[in-house]
């Protein structure tokens, strides 16, 4: 399985259908991707005060994330070191300690074992509590967004985000206030492989006009023109697509940030009032991104739409199922009414009863479960749209594709997926740092294209 070139072909831009179905592939993903990568846990805004906590997942592992008395954040596996019972069943709250229901062992905010019942009488003070802390996971924060990692050898979160921070800073820092998340999250089960929604968010501008034709027609405005994927729209003039070294990527539709929102006065006004400061700090190229609509995935399994402002984590549940958690992104310094309106609009379009999100469910599950048949499964999937019409860009880091309708970001996502699955450890991944984008062979694409414009 390891190093199998058939799973992902980075030359022909295709993937085996097994990657959505096969249990051995999934087990390798748990070990080599979810066991190694930085995974989204939460945002400071979800646990703002010391003692605040949330429970969440890192893939299939249950985790407690707690705001420490010194202001830092720590996370540990939500399982007692006695007989393994789940320690905490609340979604969120404030606690100085977490008590396991089975025999009453008490864990501190950092997961240390601080007390056990009858320690003198029945353990005869011979239990070494210092060796029985709940298993910790690494926690690092970027612009308020909190990530966890199960691999001591992984690079720092900043290195893992890498050149993608150039893009994230545009919105996660923006004019200064940055973004925060609003909970509590919606949660639902969807019978699909976790990569189907991740690839959909990272790079699928193509499906929007077809899958969401009904919803777009109802919303009207800037994006209604996409309905039906008509041939007369100059897609190359409407946006771009990006991918980066560690698989993170997005597509942008220019000047469309709040386009899915029907009631958008507050959000549109916020963007209009802050964009000049973003342009001053980050330059016109990123001011362009700041007022665009993004469909984005942070490798492996966290996705968001900037503009619409839905924020998702696709927690895997075996190869054929996920648990979707959905938050809302809002500017920290927006007024309360604007935040509330953004939350309502983001949920109405991309919540569990979303007018757009409800269109996607069958695409996700069907692309997974057709592979129950072995004749079907012995086939490949294509993601070659726009191959060659992309390359390194003189301004934007990573690899840039010429249109938001293309599969540049799919190619970048699966390129890194293959690299992680093939590599025995992070050292092997880091060895490819200087050559990762050699599969994007049109090195002169942007210099030629930009010269031609001038």
């Amino acid at each position: 399985m390891t190093g199998d070139p058939r799973l992902v072909d980075t030359i022909e831009s295709s993937q085996s259908r097994e990657i959505f179905w096969d249990k051995d592939v999934y087990d390798l993903e748990l070990e080599r991707i979810f066991g190694r990568a930085w995974l989204f846990l939460g945002h400071e805004s979800l646990l703002p005060k010391p003692g605040d906590f949330i429970t969440t997942y890192m893939a299939e592992d249950k985790v407690i994330l707690s705001h420490q008395p010194d202001g830092s954040f720590r996370a540990f596996i939500n399982s007692c070191t006695h007989r393994g019972n789940q320690i905490c069943h609340a979604d969120s709250g404030n606690a100085k300690a977490f008590v396991c229901n089975y025999h009453g062992w008490v864990y501190g905010q950092d997961g240390s074992l601080v007390d056990v019942p009858l320690e003198s009488r029945c353990y005869h003070d011979q239990l070494d509590k210092s060796r029985l802390a709940a298993k910790p996971v690494r926690v690092e924060t970027y612009k308020g967004f909190i990530f966890g990692c199960g691999d001591a050898d992984a690079p720092s979160l900043e290195e893992y985000l890498g050149e993608f921070r150039w893009y994230l800073d545009t919105i996660w820092e923006g004019a200064g206030g940055g973004l925060e998340l609003l909970g509590p999250p919606m949660k639902s089960i969807l019978a699909c492989n976790w990569k189907v929604p991740t690839e959909n968010f990272v790079g699928d501008g193509y499906h929007v006009g077809w899958t969401h034709a009904g919803a777009l027609a109802g919303i009207g405005g800037e994006l209604a023109g996409l309905a039906g994927n008509r041939a007369d729209i100059p897609f190359e003039d409407l946006g771009l697509q990006f991918t980066t070294r560690h698989g993170h990527g997005f597509g942008v539709i220019d000047n469309a940030a709040p386009a899915i929102h029907v009631k958008r006065e507050g959000w549109a006004k916020y963007l209009a009032e802050t964009r000049a400061e973003v342009g001053r700090k980050f330059g016109p190229e990123r001011e362009r991104l700041y007022v665009g609509h993004w469909n984005c995935s942070i490798f492996p399994s966290c996705s968001f739409l900037y503009g619409t402002n839905t924020f998702k984590v696709w927690h895997p549940r075996g190869p054929h199922e996920i648990e979707v958690w959905t938050y809302t992104m809002v500017p920290r310094d927006a007024d309360p009414e604007t935040k509330s309106t953004i939350q309502r609009e983001a949920t109405r379009s991309f919540g569990t009863a979303g007018t757009l999100e409800s269109d996607d469910g069958e695409n996700m599950s069907s692309a997974t479960h057709v592979n129950r048949g072995n004749i079907t499964r012995d086939g490949r999937m294509d993601s070659s749209m726009g191959a060659g019409f992309e390359g390194p860009h003189p301004v934007y880091p990573g690899i840039v594709g010429s249109s938001f309708i293309g599969e540049t970001s799919h190619r970048g996502f699966y390129r890194f997926w293959k690299e992680m699955l093939d590599a025995p450890d992070w050292t092997a991944v880091k060895a490819n740092d200087n050559t990762w984008d050699s599969v994007f062979t049109n090195r002169e694409y942007w210099t030629d294209k930009l010269d031609a414009v001038e």
Partner: protein, 174 residues
């Protein structure tokens, strides 16, 4: 709710249950425009809050309409949801899926001025494509207003029993 609320008499109870049966029939037969026009007041607040799992000791208040909710709609927003279903390009509904509602435990109380507070339990069974079946149970808290010889709902709060929704979506009306 208080146990001291004033129950409606059998005639009003019968009229409200009849109203709910007709509402269910409109949903089960896809007559969403008729439902919205005839059974929903223009000052509707249609709300399905998200309840977290919290410890009993947690003192935080219950969700309000300013907090996260799966539905938090006014009349125009409900109309947008209804009209989407008539576009002919909602591929998941072609061929159409099936839905059936079982409504029970209807308790109606007089709220004065020809208005009524009504509590009910819902069991919703959905079936689509070949084998897909999903089931939802909810509590429903309504405020109804007598309009002509029928009723219109002007506040509807839907309380989902499941924290994690075991379905592709919750795109159905209750």
């Amino acid at each position: 709710m208080s146990v001291k609320q004033i129950s409606v008499g059998p005639d009003v109870q019968f009229a409200i249950e009849t109203h709910y049966r007709a509402e269910v029939r409109l949903w089960q037969t896809g007559q969403y425009r008729e439902w919205l026009k005839d059974m929903v007041a223009e000052d509707i607040h249609y709300w399905m809050p998200i309840y977290e799992q919290r410890f009993l000791r947690d003192r935080r208040s219950d969700p309000t309409p300013d907090d996260a909710a799966i539905y938090n709609d006014d009349y125009g927003e409900l109309d947008q949801r209804v009209e989407r279903l008539y576009t002919g390009t909602v591929w998941m509904e072609d061929p159409p899926s099936k839905i059936r509602y079982f409504i029970g435990n209807v308790e109606a109380f007089d709220a004065g001025k020809d208005e009524f507070d009504v509590y009910s339990n819902l069991l919703v069974y959905r079936n689509r494509r070949q084998l897909e079946t999903t089931v939802h149970t909810l509590g429903r808290e309504d405020s109804l207003r007598r309009v002509g010889d029928g009723f219109k709902v002007f506040r509807r709060k839907l309380l989902l029993d499941a924290r994690v929704t075991q379905d592709k979506n919750l795109y159905f009306f209750c």
